[in-house]
């Protein structure tokens, strides 16, 4: 698989949210708006890439028995760094994402990639993989956030699309599940079309 494919697969074919169904909690929890989704996606990308780099660097130094705990510590460190930096410089976003920032640490996506990819590949591939997956994650969150924002509030990135209130459900918890459900279905269809063309 070429590096380019390694990078692009995260968007549709192996989209972490739509296809792999990983990292769903933040995907549902913070996507009340496209902006929050994007912010969360980028924060996760940062953690993913950084921890991929470190894991691929230290993979040979760690005995297998404590591999997972060590990786977790690495990931947790980057999460804490993100937390601290965001609180210092982007306090509004920090407020909005709330609990879900520390929870990046348990995002199955991050751990999964560290385990399955970074610990077996060289640093360069790990970076590409992390970027691809991370951006795919951000892509999914932005779309879901956008959908919920449009339907729920009649806005997108804060820009008004139609006047009046939207359907409140989409801002609330059920809307997240429902929106994601139909997006996954849609992604399946798109993926099938792509596969047919390929």
């Amino acid at each position: 698989m070429g590096q380019l494919q390694n990078f692009t697969k995260g968007f549709i074919r192996e989209n972490p949210v739509f296809v792999l169904l990983l990292g769903l909690c933040p995907a549902l929890g913070v996507t009340t708006s496209a902006f929050n989704g994007l912010g969360m996606g980028l924060a996760t990308t940062f953690v993913l890439v950084s921890s991929n780099i470190v894991v691929s660097l230290i993979k040979n130094l760690i005995p297998t028995k404590v591999r997972i705990p060590s990786f977790i510590v690495v990931i947790a460190s980057f999460v804490t760094i993100t937390e601290l930096v965001m609180e210092a410089f982007l306090p509004a976003l920090f407020e909005a994402l709330g609990l879900f920032i520390p929870l990046i640490v348990v995002n199955c996506l991050v751990m999964g990639r560290a385990e399955a990819f970074a610990s077996k590949n060289n640093t360069w591939s790990a970076i590409i993989d992390g970027l691809g997956m991370g951006l795919g994650f951000a892509f999914a969150l932005t779309i879901l956030g956008g959908l919920r924002e449009i339907l729920g509030a009649g806005e997108i990135f804060g820009w008004s699309i139609f006047a009046g209130d939207g359907m409140l459900v989409f801002v609330l918890a059920p809307g997240a599940f429902i929106g994601l459900g139909y997006l996954v279905a849609l992604n399946n269809i798109v993926k099938k079309k792509l596969d047919q063309n390929a």
Binding site: T32, P63, S70, V73, I81, L84, P91, G152
Partner: protein, 188 residues
């Protein structure tokens, strides 16, 4: 095996401590900036600010009273208040009073109310909270109309509106109870 883990943990905590030390300053700055901004919104021009903490008439935690002076004159008091009656979790707000006790304005500091319903207390979501501007709690009652007060509730979010009134009322009651003290301070 144990050693590796300890080493990783130590290395990680060292790195983190470094980052923490770096960001500690900016984080405090950001928090302070937010507070200042809120105070600025609910008070007229001032050149000096004194902060003290006063136990409220009701409630577990103390309130933060920011006494604002211009040319040595008390021009207003910004009270950071809270309520636990919100629809989900605590609501915190900054209420500005004139020295006489009239409300200058109210802004929210923190809340977890439902977007689209309870979040109408935010100034940029709705102008609902503008009705507090110039409200005199001595003349009128700081309660929603359903409860026999003078405040219009938020449609379909009565609970939030009631809670917001509760927070503001807590600030006012405490302000009122400590009124002589606060005015006296100005004379010192």
């Amino acid at each position: 095996m144990v050693m590796t883990l300890v080493i990783v943990a130590v290395a990680a905590s060292f790195t983190l401590a470094t980052v923490y030390n770096f960001t500690k300053g900016p984080i405090e700055l950001a928090r302070e900036a937010a507070r200042q901004e809120a105070i600025g919104k609910v008070l007229p021009d001032f050149d000096e600010l004194r902060t003290e903490y006063i136990m409220p008439v009701t409630g577990r935690d103390s309130l933060e009273f920011n006494l604002a002076y211009k040319d040595g004159q008390l021009v207003g008091v910004a009270v950071a208040t809270y309520t636990a009656m919100g629809y989900s979790g605590r609501i915190r707000a900054m209420v500005g009073f004139t020295p006489g006790g009239e409300i200058i304005d109210v802004v929210h500091l923190e809340h977890a109310e439902t977007p689209g319903l309870g979040d109408k207390i935010e100034k940029d979501k709705s102008d609902w909270s503008d009705q507090f501007q110039g409200f005199d709690p001595r003349e009128e009652t700081l309660k929603i109309k359903q409860d026999g007060g003078n405040i219009d509730a938020i449609t379909a979010a009565t609970i939030t509106a009631r809670a917001y009134c509760d927070a503001i009322d807590r600030a006012f009651q405490t302000f009122d109870a400590n009124h002589p003290n606060l005015i006296n301070k100005e004379k010192e």
